[in-house]
């Protein structure tokens, strides 16, 4: 369990949400955002697979949602703010997503935070 944080914007440390990611994940992000409506949250919880099929998600995306594979979903272009709504609907939270991304347990990640670094622009990293 390491707390070193690289000052780079490359995966797997960082997934900058580019226009390409938005295009790649358009359906996935739209699916997550559909859960802003309480009735949709109920429908999803009643039949996850059927709900996602009706929203046009491909099998790979459906499998990742079923597995709560938050890192895979973000790589596939699902926006964090949208995937967070999926997590909340299934009883998980931001810490679950972050822990999956950081390859830690949720408890380990909570114990590490805040992960303090110290650098300002123009100074030494």
């Amino acid at each position: 369990m390491t707390n070193s944080i690289p000052f780079t914007l490359d995966p797997p440390g960082t997934y900058v949400y580019t226009a390409e990611a938005a295009l790649r994940g358009h359906r996935l992000t739209a699916f997550g955002l559909s859960l802003r409506r309480p009735a949709n949250r109920e429908a999803f919880l009643a039949d996850e697979e059927g709900y996602m099929q009706a929203r046009g998600l491909d099998q790979a995306s459906i499998a990742m949602v079923r597995a709560r594979d938050w890192t895979g979903l973000i790589r596939a272009g699902g926006h964090l703010q949208s995937m967070l709504k999926v997590a909340a609907t299934v009883g998980q939270d931001l810490w679950h997503i972050g822990a999956h991304n950081a390859d830690l347990t949720r408890e380990e990640l909570i114990a590490l935070c805040p992960r303090k670094v110290n650098a300002i622009p123009g100074g030494k990293d």
Binding site: L9, L94, N101
Partner: protein, 282 residues
């Protein structure tokens, strides 16, 4: 004419809102009590300065908008802004009052002045405003807001220079508004945080305090700092600090800093800085 009596920048996070509700109901967690107490002087300042309107520049988090159409700049033109359901239901607060007259004036001035705004006659507002609002104001809300949403959720985001120019135009437009309203300009976003990727939880207090220290008198230096540097050193969502340039640029160079506070409760740097214009109390 209306006048700008001051402005402030403040962080927002969903957890800030949840901590407020929990703190008021069952007592405060120590880390969030610091933020609660640290924002009390801002509340006191607002009571003293008696704003008639709040011009709030913020960012939506895919709670009103979605990627079928995501505006870079969107102005709320309405007398009421409901709270968005972010996926886990509403917090127990009423909708926010708006001022469509001021918003229409801003629309006219900004669009004719070169800012091609998306005009929203319906706009649900998320934690970008609701998370800090109850710390500073009491429900039922008495001060109407004019919200302006800035894209911070997908690249490319607007440049820091563009946000400064937008802020200047907002300031000019408010000062050209017939009437005698006292307006406070608010920017909300940042500070250091990153909520995805293996760098989740990065916390750069030095960067945040450096920003708070230089915003008043050396904003040009901060604006010239590449946004990627803020993201690299402070986490991807530290880019939201660019919103604060709009607030700073809406104010004059005669402001004085009346208050600043900073803490890091969990996974987001939480800071606030308050500026007051001369003769604001007159």
């Amino acid at each position: 004419m209306a006048r700008i009596v001051g402005g402030f920048g403040i962080s927002h996070t969903p957890s800030m809102g949840m901590a407020y509700d929990k703190g008021m109901a069952e007592g405060w967690a120590p880390n969030w009590r610091l933020w609660y107490e640290g924002t009390r002087p801002v509340r006191d300042w607002l009571e003293r300065i008696r704003p008639d309107r709040l011009m709030v520049i913020y960012n939506d988090h895919l709670n009103h908008f979605d990627f079928s159409a995501y505006p870079t700049f969107a102005l709320g033109v309405s007398d009421l802004f409901p709270q968005a359901d972010e996926g886990w239901g509403h917090r127990p607060f009423p909708d926010l009052p708006g001022d469509s007259r001021l918003a229409l004036h801003l629309t006219e001035k900004l669009v004719r002045g070169g800012f091609d705004l998306t005009v929203c006659q319906d706009l649900a507002v998320d934690h970008g405003i609701y998370s800090w609002f109850p710390y500073l104001m009491s429900a039922p809300w008495s001060v109407p807001i004019v919200p302006l949403a800035v894209n911070m959720v997908r690249q490319p985001i607007p440049t820091s220079q563009r946000l400064r120019d937008l802020g200047r135009a907002i300031g000019d437009a408010i000062r050209a508004m017939p009437g005698d309203e006292r307006v406070v300009v608010v920017a909300t976003g940042g500070m250091s945080h990153q909520i995805s990727g293996a760098r989740f939880g990065i916390a750069n207090e030095g960067l945040d305090r450096w920003f708070l220290k230089h915003l008043k008198d050396d904003a040009a230096m901060l604006i010239d700092t590449p946004q990627e540097e803020f993201m690299r050193l402070g986490g991807t969502e530290a880019s939201e600090l660019a919103i604060w340039f709009a607030m700073r640029a809406a104010l004059s160079d005669r402001i004085r800093e009346v208050y600043s506070y900073y803490t890091f409760p969990a996974i987001t740097g939480c800071g606030v800085v308050v500026y007051e214009e001369p003769e604001a109390m007159a």
